[in-house]
Symmetry: C2
Subunit: 306 residues, 2 copies
C-alpha cells in the first residue's frame, strides 16, 4: 500500500516505520527530522527490539508525495488549520484517510474537507517519544482501535486493520468509533489536563487521595457525558475504577499534554476538552470539573508559558 | 491600652504602628525584623503619609511582654499550632484577644484555648507588604470590621473599635462576625486560590471571559454555602457582581496566597478553603469548584514549590 504519514511526531514515525518494515511504501512529511532521516534513515528504539530503516522517503511538502492509498494523520490537533493544505495533494478517488489524533472533532473536520466516505479514525494506546533527530523511542503499548467515521461495508476497514496487524501492531476494528474515542477521553481528560496543569506525572496524581478522587470524579463526568452520545453500549461507572487501576501501573508516565507544556508547545485543549464539553452540553450534560479544568489550562496558557 | 501584636507581618506591623502612634503601649513579637526594629525603630510608608516610630518595644518571646489588655493576632493561619504558646503569657483575667487572620476557624481555636468570652474577630481590608527590615508599606485600604465571637454586652467591642478609630483606622463594629467573614471569603476563595494556583494577579484573571466566569461561579458557590450558616441576613447573588466590579479596580493586585507561594511559604488552604468547605458540607452544600480548587492547591503544594 502507498501510505503517507502527515504529522511525523513520535506516533507518526513509529507507526510509519513499522508499516514500512513490513513492506509498504511509506512517505513521511517531515520538518525537524528531514535532514537526519533522508540522509541517515530512521532508527526505532523499541521495547520489542530496535530496528533501523536505512532508506526512508522523506518529504518537505505533500506535493512531492502525490496521491496515496492511505493517509495517516498524526498531526497535533492545534495544527488542524493546516490539514486541508497538507492532505489535499495526497487525495485521489480511492484514498482513505485515517486520523490517529487526540480527542474529538478530527474525523468531523476531515469529513468536511475531503468527504465522509473516506474517513476513518483510530484510538492509539502508544507510549513513544522522539529522541535526537532520526530516532524514535517506543516505550510501550502501541495497540490501535480503528473504526469508520460513517459505517459502510467494512472492506477497507478490514484491509487497513490487516495492514497494521501484519506490521506487528496490535489492531482491532470497531463498529463504534465514537465509543472508542469517548473511552479514551475517560483517561485523557483527567490525566492530560491535570498532569499539564500541575506539571506532575500520572503516579504523583494517583498517590494523593484527594487528587485521586478528583481524577475519578472527572472520569465519572466524562462517562456521564459519553452515555448521552448514542453509543452502542453504555460505559459503566466501574470503567473509571478499571482506568485508575490500569493507570497505577503506568508509573512516572507523562501524558502528551504535559510534554507539550514542558516543551513550550500549544496544548490540545480544544480537541481533548472543549469539543467533548460541547458535545456534553448539546445533550444537556454539564461537566463542571472538566469545564473548570479547561478554563484553568486556557488561563494558564493565555499568559504564555506558565 | 497595653497591646501585644502576635504575628508582626505586614498587617500586624501596620496596625500596631498606627495604634502606637495614637498613644497606646504596643509590644511587637518579632522574628525577622527584631534587630532592625529594636535598633532603628519602625518606618511606615503609607499612601496617607509616611511616619517613623523611633522607639519600638520589640520582643523575641511573649514572656517579656507579659499580660496585656488586648492581643492582636496577625499570624499566618498555618502557624496556628503555635498560638497557645505565643498567646498564653499575655493573658490575664481582663485580656481580650482579637484575631485579624484570614479565613474561618481562628476564633473557634482561640475560644477553645483561652475561653470564648474574650475572643473577638475582625476582617481587614488592607493592602500592605513588608519591605526591608524595619519598614512596612501601606499601599491602600485598612478598613476593619470587628465583632465578638459570642455576642455579649458590646462594651469591649465599642472600646476596641474606638481605639482603632482614634488611631486613624476606619473601623466598624458588627453584630454578625460570621457574615463579615463569609463575605470576605466570597472574594478570598476565588482570588487567593486562583491567583496562587495560576500565579497571576487579579487583573489577569478578570480580563479573560472564561476565567472571569469561573471567578463568579466560585463566588456564587461561596454565597450559597454562606446562606446556610444562619447569618443575620442573606447575601444576595448580586454581591458576586459587586465584588467583580470592585476587583476590576484593583489592577495588578496579588492576594496574600499568591505572595505566599512566590515566597515559598505554606499556603493558607486550610483556613481559606478547607474550613469553609467543611462548614458548607455540614449544611448539605457541595462546593464542587471550591473543592477542586483546594485539591489542586494541595496537590501542587504537596509536591513542594510548583
Amino acid at each position: 500500500m502507498k501510505i503517507a504519514i502527515i504529522g511525523s511526531g513520535a506516533l507518526g514515525l513509529y507507526y510509519g516505520a513499522m508499516l514500512q518494515r513490513s513492506g509498504h511504501e511509506v512517505h513521511f512529511l517531515l520538518r525537524r527530522d528531514y535532514e537526519a532521516i533522508t540522509s541517515n534513515g530512521l532508527t526505532v528504539h523499541s521495547v520489542n527490539g530496535d530496528f533501523c530503516l536505512p532508506v526512508v522517503s522523506g518529504h518537505r511538502t505533500p506535493d512531492t508525495i502525490g496521491p496515496v492509498e492511505l493517509v495517516i494523520v498524526g498531526l497535533k490537533t492545534f495544527a488542524n488549520n493546516h490539514l486541508y493544505d497538507l492532505v489535499s495533494p495526497l487525495v485521489a478517488t480511492e484514498t482513505q484517510i485515517l486520523t490517529l489524533q487526540n480527542g474529538l472533532g478530527n474525523e468531523e473536520l476531515l469529513a468536511e474537507l475531503f468527504g465522509a466516505e473516506r474517513i476513518l479514525g483510530g484510538v492509539a494506546f502508544l507510549c513513544s517519544n522522539r529522541g535526537e533527530s532520526g530516532h524514535v523511542h517506543h516505550l510501550g503499548g502501541g495497540r490501535i482501535i480503528i473504526g469508520e467515521y460513517e459505517q459502510r461495508d467494512n472492506v477497507r476497514l478490514v484491509q487497513i486493520v490487516s495492514a497494521f496487524s501484519s506490521a506487528g501492531i496490535e489492531c482491532k476494528a470497531t463498529g463504534d468509533l465514537k465509543k472508542a474515542r469517548w473511552e479514551k477521553l475517560v483517561w485523557n481528560i483527567p490525566f492530560n489536563g491535570l498532569c499539564a496543569l500541575l506539571q506532575q506525572s500520572v503516579d504523583k496524581l494517583l498517590k494523593v487521595n484527594g487528587c485521586r478522587k478528583l481524577v475519578r470524579d472527572l472520569m465519572v463526568e466524562v462517562i456521564a457525558a459519553a452515555n448521552t452520545q448514542d453509543l452502542s453500549q453504555v460505559i459503566p461507572e466501574a470503567y473509571a475504577d478499571e482506568m485508575l487501576e490500569f493507570s497505577d501501573g503506568m508509573g512516572e508516565y507523562k501524558p502528551s499534554m504535559q510534554i507539550d507544556r514542558e516543551e513550550g508547545r500549544t496544548l490540545e485543549i480544544e480537541a481533548i476538552l472543549r469539543v467533548p464539553l460541547g458535545y456534553g452540553r448539546q445533550h444537556g450534560v454539564d461537566m463542571l470539573r472538566t469545564e473548570m479544568l479547561a478554563v484553568l489550562l486556557e488561563q494558564g496558557f493565555a499568559a504564555g508559558p506558565f
